[in-house]
């Protein structure tokens, strides 16, 4: 049994289905990439796992316990945090206030200070800019804040929806190097991205999703073959 087990997940919006029986497993200490073109259902998958979008069928288990159908505020308390697409930091609040909000979903409040110290060590800019309005940070700094805010809840699994969105290439590499540190500290990571090459090379395993279904599973070795990667990403006709 993996740390996160998703089985036959079907979800959508109203009468429109977006995901059609998605299944995958994430082991402790591992990273999983999910890539695919626009409209493939990547963000819906993240939202369904985190409880933001209602599932129509299927199951999600975290550490062997079902989290299917739970509210987002309960899912985070069970150990799964989502860094949403576009970061969604609270621009009108300070950096510290954003981090304090992240503590809301933490079960063990007695170690909250250590958690804050840990993320400030991981992302020093959050220390030097503690009293800045979060909306005044650069895109890369905002992404660091969004990840730190999710981390202080002490998740076993961290879901990241397009963490590279709107960032310069050098900043993207910084973010991914921080993700390596986070995995080394014991948090497993699921990364949704459109940058197939980057994620395939980074993650232990990468799933290609198209039209709401898992189409292929790739390993870091596959990142070396651009043509095969393109075929897997766009389909056989690419």
């Amino acid at each position: 049994m993996g740390l996160l087990e998703v089985k036959d997940l079907q979800a959508g919006y109203g009468k429109v289905d977006v995901l059609f029986g998605v299944s995958f497993s994430l082991e402790a200490g591992q990273s999983l990439g999910i890539v695919g073109p626009n409209g493939a259902g990547k963000s819906t998958l993240m939202k369904a796992i985190a409880g933001e979008v209602a599932m129509k069928s299927g199951t999600v288990q975290l550490q062997g316990s079902p989290i299917t159908g739970k509210k987002p505020e309960d899912v985070v308390r069970l150990g799964l945090s989502l860094v949403p697409e576009g970061r969604q930091i609270f621009g009108g609040l300070t950096v510290t206030e954003n981090l304090m909000l992240g503590l809301t979903g933490r079960r063990d409040k007695s170690s909250a200070k250590q958690a804050l110290d840990q993320v400030r060590g991981l992302f020093p800019v959050l220390n030097t800019h503690a009293d800045y309005q979060a909306g005044m940070l650069s895109g890369g700094q905002q992404q660091q804040l969004a990840i730190a805010r999710a981390l202080v809840a002490d998740p076993k699994v961290l879901l990241l929806d397009e963490p590279s969105l709107g960032l310069a290439p050098t900043v993207i590499m910084d973010v991914f190097s921080k993700l390596k540190e986070i995995i080394a500290l014991g948090t497993s990571v699921v990364i949704v991205e459109q940058r197939a090459h980057l994620v395939t090379a980074f993650a232990n395993k990468t799933l290609i999703i198209r039209a709401g279904k898992i189409q292929a599973t790739l390993t870091p070795e596959d990142a070396k073959d651009e043509a095969a990667l393109r075929r897997a990403y766009f389909g056989a006709g690419a």
Partner: protein
């Protein structure tokens, strides 16, 4: 001087009404027209418990308004969450009218009256100027409540969650903010604020009828729009501006005071033309892209 004090007093009262409405709007995007009936029930409760000590009478009124606010959230708004703003708005209209009719059945259509805190209706002279006690007390109460609300919103965890939810409730929930608990708290606080407004109004005008809280609620809604609809500070500021302008107009227009609302709404139109998102909107939307 008395006119300025009266204007500050009325402005403060409208600020409290607007803050109560703004709290609920912030977490639910709901324009709660039934806020008027929270003000009304608190005024009725203070009239019927007038024989009790004033503080106890007010506490009962605040408890009643807070309970009614929570019951309306549990029984109606919670069930309609996610149905869209138009349905929520119509529901709040329906609830407002339904509560007015219920008050009519319980308390009668004619005004119920009692001298609540009669010692506040007197006046005194200071430095050659005449002051009414009620305006002094109202200003003091308003400042105390606004300071307490400022502390709650700016310095407490609940306040931080309310501010976050007012900006983006979905993301706040992803971080663990419990939606039902937060919305329930916002309704309870809005009930207590409504009771504060009810107390101030019933001292000034001890004639309570089923539509007692309607006028101030509608004008407080106008205040929220001009202050900045997504900001609690904006709501309080907008409410204060509306009450202040209205009081000044009523004082200085003399026989032409029938046009006070016309001038008030002209001022509102000008403010919105200059700042379409409300007075504090630009500051709140400050964001580096």
């Amino acid at each position: 001087m008395q006119a300025i004090l009266d204007a500050i007093s009325l402005g403060g009262t409208y600020a409290l009404a607007a803050l109560g409405l703004g709290l609920v709007f912030g977490v639910m995007r709901l324009v709660n027209f039934a806020h008027a009936e929270l003000i009304t029930i608190s005024a009725y409760l203070m009239v019927v418990t007038n024989d009790l000590p004033l503080l106890l009478s007010f506490l009962l009124a605040a408890l009643g308004a807070a309970l009614l606010a929570i019951v309306t959230e549990l029984a109606i708004y919670r069930r309609l969450r996610g149905t869209g703003p138009a349905i929520m708005l119509i529901a709040s209209f329906g609830l407002s009218v339904g509560l007015q009719k219920s008050y009519e059945l319980i308390f009668g259509a004619l005004p119920r009256s009692a001298a609540v805190a009669p010692w506040m209706t007197g006046s005194f002279e200071f430095a050659g100027l005449n002051f009414t006690i009620s305006s002094i007390v109202t200003v003091a109460i308003t400042i105390a409540i606004l300071l307490a609300m400022g502390y709650l919103i700016e310095r407490t965890t609940l306040g931080l969650q309310l501010r976050a939810a007012a900006t983006d409730f979905k993301t706040a929930r992803l971080l663990g903010v419990r939606s039902n608990r937060l919305i329930g708290s916002a309704f309870a606080i809005s009930g207590i604020l409504a009771a504060s407004v009810g107390f101030i109004l019933v001292v000034e005008n001890p004639q309570v009828d089923p539509m007692f809280g309607l006028n101030i609620t509608i004008l407080a809604l106008v205040g929220i729009v001009i202050g900045g609809i997504s900001s609690l500070r904006g709501a309080a500021l907008g409410g204060f501006i509306v009450g202040f302008i209205l009081s000044i107009l009523n004082t200085y227009l003399g026989n032409a005071r029938v046009y006070a609302y016309s001038y008030l709404f002209l001022a509102v139109v000008i403010i919105l033309l200059v700042r379409p998102g409300g007075i504090l909107s630009k500051r709140n939307e400050m964001e580096r892209v």
